[in-house]
């Protein structure tokens, strides 16, 4: 019974992974779903370092990218029949090389956590990214390298030419990888990673070398990042320097952080949100990276434990059955907050746009006219004031919802 209860969330996760393409079945949706499962594995592997092990890495794309490059090379070998095996196993090749890179780089970078580790990771990231442009026979220079996933033995008649077919392969691998990453947190090595994150010195006095604990997490993280890289190779059939450079490392950090480092589910949320923003928002605005940056700043400042932390904040109110006290104040704050956000976006877009008319939410705004600016600024100001006023109420409601009942206090 307890096992059933524990596994129910995993069964739900599997059903969600396998069922999503039935609901969202457009070409665009499948492409987004593919990116999403890859991002989930990658972000979770990053959280093994930062959230669970306390290692801030600025070069995690190295393991993702190397896994991806080796996977594309494996695709090429399959294509020319140098090796004969199903492309289903490609993510394992990515994982293996992610692991090997982790063992090699981890052997000297896990001496210390903190600034030293962060700087080494940055250096290695730059080094590998630069090397990838220099050693073009392996990395293919700026153009990268490409393969073809339709070769190799068929799997029950599938040749994986369709994106939807590769999605199911990726979804199953993502499920397995997520499950193993979760199980890792439930082992002595996983718990000691938390202990070393909290207090590396004390860990040594209970018999553990902090360095070795970090090294194990580091290698495991490299393995799973490599698997994500292999999934990327299968999905896109090409890989370039961009996939192992600092920008990719930065993106995975953002995903894990915005989702919430302290919770296993955090990076999953972050991966989903950022992939959606990346794919959908970029259709609407050239400035989406700016909005992403603002969202990251706001998360760091106001939700240091990420989206997952924000959800978990409501645990006490939920247990006490006080959620209903919060709904109304939340809505009262959310309406002007949304209005303010919309106005702010309008202002940002208007300063960027070069057309004479700015189409926005069904309105036709004229960026050249000062009146447009004054009106929007006024609305934004009013909305901001309303948010500030409503926060007082929200705060009171929060206090009431979380207050310790009188009898418990005594």
């Amino acid at each position: 019974m307890a096992l059933l209860k524990k596994s129910s969330i995993w069964i739900a996760f599997l059903i969600a992974l396998l069922g999503l393409p039935l609901v969202f079945d457009s070409i665009l949706a499948i492409s987004i779903l593919n990116q999403m499962v890859i991002a989930i594995v990658f972000a979770l592997s990053y959280n093994m370092l930062l959230g669970q092990g306390g290692m801030l890495s600025f070069g995690h794309a190295v393991y993702f990218g190397l896994g991806g490059f080796l996977s594309v090379h494996a695709l090429i070998l399959i294509e020319f029949e140098t090796m004969v095996f199903s492309i289903l196993w490609i993510p394992l090749i990515g994982g293996l090389f992610g692991l090997l890179a982790g063992i090699f780089i981890g052997s000297f970078s896990t001496h210390k956590a903190g600034t030293v580790f962060a700087m080494i990771s940055l250096g290695i990231g730059e080094l590998i990214a630069a090397s990838s442009l220099i050693f073009s026979s392996f990395f293919g220079g700026e153009a990268g390298i490409s393969g073809d996933r339709t070769f190799g033995p068929m799997f029950f008649g599938f040749d994986f030419a369709q994106n939807i077919e590769i999605y199911y392969v990726a979804a199953v691998w993502a499920f397995i990888a997520t499950l193993f990453m979760y199980l890792f947190t439930q082992t002595p090595a996983g718990r000691m990673a938390n202990a070393v994150r909290d207090n590396p010195e004390r860990a040594e006095f209970i018999g553990y070398s902090s360095r070795k604990v970090r090294f194990i997490s580091f290698c495991a993280s490299g393995l799973f990042a490599g698997i994500a890289g292999g999934l990327f190779a299968l999905n896109y059939e090409f890989i370039t320097e961009e996939n192992l450079n600092a920008a990719t490392s930065g993106r995975v950090l953002l995903m894990a952080y915005i989702g919430g480092l302290g919770y296993f589910i955090g990076p999953i949320i972050g991966a989903v949100v950022l992939t959606l923003m990346n794919s959908l928002l970029s259709n609407y605005s050239e400035l989406w990276m700016l909005y992403l940056g603002i969202m990251f700043l706001l998360t760091v400042m106001y939700l240091p434990r990420g989206f997952a932390g924000f959800i978990m904040m409501h645990q006490i109110a939920w247990i006490r059955g006080n959620m209903k006290l919060l709904i109304k104040p939340y809505i009262i704050t959310a309406i002007p907050a949304l209005l303010f956000t919309l106005c702010a976006i309008a202002l940002i877009e208007m300063s960027h746009i070069e057309d004479e008319v700015f189409h926005y939410l069904g309105l036709e705004l004229n960026p050249a006219s000062p009146i447009t600016w004054i009106v929007i600024l006024a609305v934004a100001g009013g909305a901001f004031y309303a948010v500030k006023r409503s926060l007082v109420q929200l705060n009171d409601a929060w206090e009431t919802a979380n207050a310790i009942p009188k009898e418990e206090e005594a």
């Binding site: 994150r197 209970i206 302290g262």
Partner: protein
Amino acid sequence: MAILSLKDVKKNFGITEIIRGVSLDIVEGEKHAIIGPNGAGKSTLFHLISGRYNVTAGSICFKGQQIENKPPYEIARMGLARSFQVTNIFQRMSVFENIRCALFWSKGYGYSFWHLLGQQTELNDEAMHVLDQIGLADRAKFPSGELAYAELRALELGVAISSGSELIMLDEPVAGMSHSEAQKAVELIRKITEGKTLIMVEHDMNIIFDVADRISVLVYGEIIATDEPTKIRANSKVQEAYLGEVHSA
């Protein structure tokens, strides 16, 4: 038979001599207290024995093996456990997890990533047993960073004793506690160190004379006397250097 033996141990920080040649034998099973005025080097001596600092000169033997300059985890694995003066725990983990982590090595889990902790019934029961002993059973799931001070000190003690070590070193275990809390803590220390060797640094004289079989007096990096409590009380050198200072203060 000495379980721990220090020979002419010295420690310099730059040109400052903190420990100026300490020789000391700790007999197996005894409760040994180290006292001395502030800045005498008591905590430094603890750090040297437990491997946090390297010695400048001299040797430290634990169970017949040289341990000076070994990393702390190797010394801990040999069966030497210690607590810290300033609480030093895994603050973002639960109380239960703190204790369970402290049990891993002595229970033979090492760096295992193939044991699922949920299934290690014996280990989990042992962790609950330790929590019972230190009186924190009802706090098992509590985030340890949010404990009250006396509870934190109890957890600190629990982490130190979980490893099942033969030699336990406690650095001011009751510092900052109220009188009644300190009384309870002393009872606890007595209970959990039964049949083991204990070295402790403490300021509270009542507690020391209550718990210790022998006392060493450390003054400016040197041990000026090691003896039974009543004889230490009568020792004129000690009275002059240490106890006298307390009385006049």
